[in-house]
Symmetry: C2
Subunit: 306 residues, 2 copies
């Protein structure tokens, strides 16, 4: 079985390294960071934190060097989905199934423009790049996957991918309808990420500081109202997810805060922006999500208008 | 006539320098910055920008060196009102009148704990300290003053202070009820200041960037609803004030952004915090002002919890 990880940042690296430990799986990784790719090919990828091991697999900055794969796992930032899948499209054919494990909503739609069989996914583990070839595994957690409804991917492929990931040590749940899991994570992210990005606070500090903790709850209430209006049953309670993550060891910085610290475009359009757009569609007001979206867009605007 | 400026930062310096140009007014300034005080005493205070001149007056870090004054102008950050007026209380007696020209609401209440006759005031000019003894006058504008209602200060003293300020070149309007002017500025500040502080954008950039410009408007709508519920007639339209300030030359950074860049406690409790508290009293929901308050408090919390 061949698997290609598209986007080998912190999350993609966790998937690639775990899968590479399976004897019956050949892992390829496509990423734009030459330094990370070179380090992986030279010394393997080192994981530390919630798990500690080093795994060897093939990484490259040239997608055309990767053979046809049975499965794809897309783990780029949402802002890079389109560019990455355009580069990687020839790795997959009509029998392949490509799964998004990205933040936010809207990525499967983009992948499906180029790949026939698409799997909807959402993942809870969190990490960060410590150095090229070395990823910190900050928070362990499950992954939920299910068919991307319009693509007609059979449940058999969803189950096969879940089975493979579970064997690799990445706990994965196959669901007939993964929208509830995806929206639970979306609502979690749309509260914790902008607040972290705008204040600098790591996840635990923002949760336990009363003003920002209350803002988390208010943002979650808005997102939950939108999900309800869309007929989506949340798989998990985002407020419980916030507290669970806050009790993880270490000082995990939300991915959007990591983006801001690096002056990288954030995923806010796929998080709070998506909740605002879906809220408009469903007739549910989302003033707080719109405010977070506006502030983070303002922050990005500042980098080019200091 | 003797006038003491309490808090000789950017705004206090503008008042002190203008008043010092009048032959019939003796100006004293109390400030905590020894460098600024020393520079003023040595070379005078230089103003550049909307006006260009240098004025000489007495400045000190020891309030007990200042003689009894007829008028006080308090221009500290709201967070320092209590400490400053406790130090300066003996400069004023029961015939003196002390006027706040500070941001936010709640300062007159604190001053009135120590001084009998208090004048409510709000001022639109904006500036920043360029160097000790040198203040940039970024945006010119009017000052509105009126009796602080519970203190029973006679209108005669309000008029006398306004007349003196007008002669000095600081355009000032005496009002029987200055609450409408103060709330106009409060609502203006509570929209522009946190957005500037959280994004880094200078006032013009934040106004003309569509997402943050729309957030200004939404925050203003909330504040206006609270003022209406309290029976306060706004003296000016805060949305027009935003556009007026945005068209001023230069890239003025909101005072809260200046505070954040210097890791100084902000005035958010006297701005968005005050609107939230007044909204609760009046039964008007203020979710966006509460969100801005929470984010800025989170930012301050971060400085001690990195």
């Amino acid at each position: 079985m061949k698997v290609c990880v598209v986007g080998c940042g912190a999350i993609g690296s966790l998937f690639a390294a775990h899968l590479a430990r399976l004897n019956d799986v050949e892992v390829h990784a496509y990423d734009v960071s030459a330094a990370h790719v070179d380090a992986i090919n030279k010394n393997g990828l080192r994981i530390s934190g919630a798990a500690d091991f080093t795994a060897r697999f093939h990484a490259t900055i040239r997608a055309q060097e990767i053979p046809r794969c049975d499965y794809g796992i897309v783990a780029t930032k949402s802002t890079h989905t389109r560019g990455a899948i355009e580069q990687a499209r020839n790795i997959f054919d009509d029998r392949s199934a490509v799964c998004s494990v990205q933040n936010g909503v809207g990525n499967e739609e983009i992948i499906a423009e180029h790949v026939k069989q698409v799997i909807r996914g959402t993942t809870f583990p969190a990490g960060h790049i410590i150095a090229p070839g070395h990823v910190g595994y900050d928070i362990a957690g499950s992954t939920w996957i299910g068919p991307f409804e319009p693509s007609g991917v059979p449940m058999r492929l969803v189950n096969e991918l879940a089975e493979m990931l579970n064997r690799s040590g990445m706990k994965t749940v196959a669901l007939q309808d993964a929208r509830g899991a995806q929206w639970s994570k979306l609502i979690f992210n749309a509260s914790t990420n902008p607040v972290g990005a705008l204040t600098g606070l790591h996840h635990g500090a923002a949760t336990f500081f009363e003003p920002t903790g209350a803002l988390f709850d208010a943002l979650i209430d808005e997102g939950t109202a939108v999900a309800r209006a869309l007929g989506i049953d949340l798989h998990d309670d985002p407020k419980k997810m916030v507290r669970f993550a806050a009790n993880a060891p270490g000082k995990h910085k939300a991915s959007m805060l990591q983006d801001v610290l690096a002056n990288r475009p954030t995923e806010v359009d796929f998080m709070n922006g998506a909740i605002v757009r879906m809220g408009e569609k469903a007739g549910v007001p989302t003033p707080l999500n719109r405010a977070m979206w506006a502030l983070v867009k303002g922050l990005e605007h500042f980098w080019t208008n200091p």
